[in-house]
């Protein structure tokens, strides 16, 4: 198909139309709104028969999604920021109950102060939840990875969040190639789960109470499922590549061959970094990029392998943890612990603060503060 001009949000809405989930319980929040609005208008035009449940809060959105997914219906939802924070309690439970819900997340800074723009603090909030998180770089990938996510969720039986940068991807129109409806249907296949709540012939009790004698073991199932997800992402990625001729993996290595310095980051920033890497390479600087595509499961081995030969790693965190290091830098450091690589962590872009190529250059050159772009004193607007 020819490329269409679509925002990331629209691209995901089209993916949803093609996936044609049975149920979508959802609650609006900027910048996720274009996803659900476009999807709703496609539904209103009769292209789809999804049961959209306009719930009264995100806590209920995720709760209804669990009820629906475990009742045997393919279920998706979408949210951002405060919405994710409000449903966080239930995201853990969705993972524990092995509900294969696909969530389109438009990453946005958490309050306070309230802000509608991008950072990754919302994703970071659920990093222990047992949910898979796949970050995408642009609108095309947002579309592609939604398809992959359906397969992945239903294979390993965990919720999968497809994380796209709020506004930067959700609201940016870019050329996107859609697959045909038929190819999508064939790729995703039929929905199936081991125990349907609606199977009245074989009644099950789902979500029991666990004492110390069993909690640990039940929780460990998710650790196991996450381990299975790592190869599954690569396998499904290969299968999808067959249809799109684009590559998907748990990490993307960009010009790391012979690189002495490597930037590590998530999401749309990687695109800007690529431009800078190309420039620096042209200038003779051996710089590369490692984009982490799967943040959960965290691809430690792939990271270590990709960075084995670099001297210095520069991690860009689009989230911070007051009183501690940036979450991504912390995890990369732990992964590389024991190597003799130098590692620097920088925080950037909180609440939608822009990161331009010159900022990235400054970071790579070591001319930047730990908090990139932070104003410590007044300056002219």
């Amino acid at each position: 198909m020819k490329p269409q001009l679509l925002t990331g949000g629209e691209a995901v809405a089209h993916a949803m139309r093609q996936i044609d989930p049975d149920v979508v319980p959802v609650y609006p929040i900027t910048p996720q709104t274009p996803i659900i609005q476009v999807f709703a208008s496609l539904t209103a035009d009769g292209r789809d028969h999804t049961e959209i449940v306009n719930v009264e809060s995100e806590h209920s959105a995720m709760s209804a999604a669990i009820g629906s997914a475990l009742a045997g219906a393919r279920t998706m939802t979408a949210t951002s920021s405060q919405g994710l924070a409000l449903m966080a309690e239930v995201v853990y439970i969705a993972a524990a109950m092995r509900a294969p819900i696909v969530v389109a997340l438009g990453n946005r800074a958490l309050s306070g102060p309230i802000n509608i723009h991008c950072d990754h603090s919302d994703s970071m909030l659920i990093r222990d939840s047992g949910a898979i998180q796949l970050f995408v770089e642009n609108a095309q990938e947002a579309y592609d990875v939604m398809l992959l996510a359906v397969r992945l969720a239903e294979q390993v039986l965990l919720p999968v969040f497809v994380c796209q940068d709020g506004f930067t991807i959700t609201h940016s129109a870019e050329p996107v190639r859609l697959l045909s409806d038929r190819k999508v249907k064939d790729f995703i296949g039929e929905y199936a789960i081991p125990n349907s709540f609606l199977d009245v012939e074989h009644p099950t009790s789902q979500g029991p109470f666990a004492m110390p004698d069993y909690y640990y073991e039940l929780r460990h199932q998710q650790v196991d499922a996450m381990s299975a997800a790592l190869p599954a992402i690569d396998e499904l990625g290969d299968e999808l590549s067959g249809l799109t001729a684009r590559r998907y993996s748990v990490v993307e290595e960009y010009r790391l061959d012979g690189a002495e310095r490597a930037v590590v980051c998530l999401g749309s920033t990687a695109g800007t970094v690529k431009d800078v890497v190309d420039e620096l390479r042209d200038e003779g600087e051996p710089v590369g990029l490692l984009r982490i595509c799967a943040f959960r499961p965290f691809p430690e081995r792939a990271i270590c392998a990709a960075l084995a030969d670099v001297d210095e790693v520069i991690v860009l965190d689009r989230a911070d943890a007051p009183g501690a290091r940036g979450p991504l830098a912390t995890e990369v450091a732990a992964a590389l612990f024991g190597s003799d690589i130098d590692l620097r962590g920088h925080v950037y872009g909180l609440g939608g603060r822009e990161l331009h190529p010159e900022d990235i250059r400054a970071v790579i050159d070591g001319r930047s503060d730990r908090y990139v772009g932070l104003r410590s004193a007044a300056c002219l607007a």
């Binding site: 709760s63 709540f197 009644p203 004492m211």
Partner: protein, 309 residues
């Protein structure tokens, strides 16, 4: 007694909530659950909110439930049921699910209904999901050790509204959840009590037949939290009805109806008496509080009777 045989028959030898749970001796909840479920012919699935019922019936790896049952959290049982019911409708429409019509039933305590579960319930009522939300209302958070809830009646002592040297129990009125559900203009709302099982059974039947959300608010005793011997349960619950503290009525498509009329006006002391949580109210120096309670009961009763006519 033929209704009881019907119930027994609906159960077909397999009680929906079976033996072997760890609810307290004489707990009122199972009676509510079994009466409601046994009154519904055909398959049913149950969603429970966190609370005594949930914690005590499904200690992994065992379960006391013989019907499909799901628990997710404390505050979201209506949303979970709404999700499952939406899935059901979607799958039915797409013809990928067959079999007899399934009834969706939620059981939640008063905490999971009046307080922390209120919003999910209100949203589900507004959206019109076809399900029965049954609150087993034992007037406090029992599972966590008898704390005050929105359903705790005025004056009752709980661990968070204790009577003491200066404390006189809960100093707010009970939230009128039945009225709130009625204000949602759903097809069927009823107030019932565990001890009038036949009345409850009839209401459950109507709720199951309603073409939309139905809400049942069932007063259910908790011998531990109320402070009485289990065998007293019927005397005490009946007193709630006879004193008009807990009128039995239904609102069917907006039409109010008393389903049981106490023969005469019984003073509220009959209800307060014999429950430890009210003991301090019956001290002579607290006569004012009792009179206040009686006045509210009388006013509410008159207002209810007015709407029933």
């Amino acid at each position: 007694m033929s209704r009881l045989k019907t119930l027994a028959c609906n159960e077909c030898g397999v009680p929906p909530l079976g033996a072997g749970h760890s609810l307290c001796q004489g707990c009122g909840i199972p009676l509510v659950v079994r009466t409601v479920l046994d009154s519904i012919a055909g398959p049913k699935v149950v969603v429970s909110a966190t609370g005594c019922l949930e914690v005590a019936t499904t200690r992994f790896p065992t379960t006391a439930w013989n019907v499909p049952w799901m628990h997710v959290a404390f505050e979201n049982s209506a949303a979970v049921a709404a999700g499952a019911e939406s899935a059901y409708r979607a799958l039915r429409r797409r013809r990928t699910l067959d079999g007899d019509d399934i009834t969706f039933v939620v059981f939640a305590g008063d905490g999971g209904t009046y307080d922390i579960g209120m919003q999910a319930l209100s949203g589900a009522l507004e959206r019109g999901h076809r399900f029965i939300f049954c609150c087993y209302d034992n007037e406090a958070y029992m599972n966590t050790g008898v704390q005050r809830s929105g359903a705790t009646p005025f004056g009752a002592s709980t661990t968070t509204s204790p009577s003491g040297k200066v404390g006189l129990g809960k100093m707010q009125e009970r939230k009128d959840m039945t009225a709130i559900a009625v204000a949602h203009h759903v097809p069927y709302v009823a107030q019932a009590v565990a001890s009038h099982w036949d009345d409850l059974s009839r209401k459950a039947e109507k709720a199951a037949a309603a073409n939309g959300p139905a809400f049942l608010n069932v007063l259910s005793d908790c011998p531990v939290g109320w402070g009485h011997e289990p065998r007293e349960f019927k005397r005490i619950l009946d007193a709630a009805v006879e004193t008009r503290f807990w009128p039995l009525y239904e609102v069917d498509h907006g039409a109010f109806k008393l389903t049981y009329e106490p023969a005469e006006r019984v003073p509220v002391e009959r209800w307060l008496d014999g429950q430890k949580r009210f003991k301090h109210l019956l001290e002579p120096e607290n006569g004012d509080l009792v009179r206040h309670i009686q006045r509210r009961i009388d006013e509410d009763w008159d207002a209810l009777v007015a709407r029933c006519s």
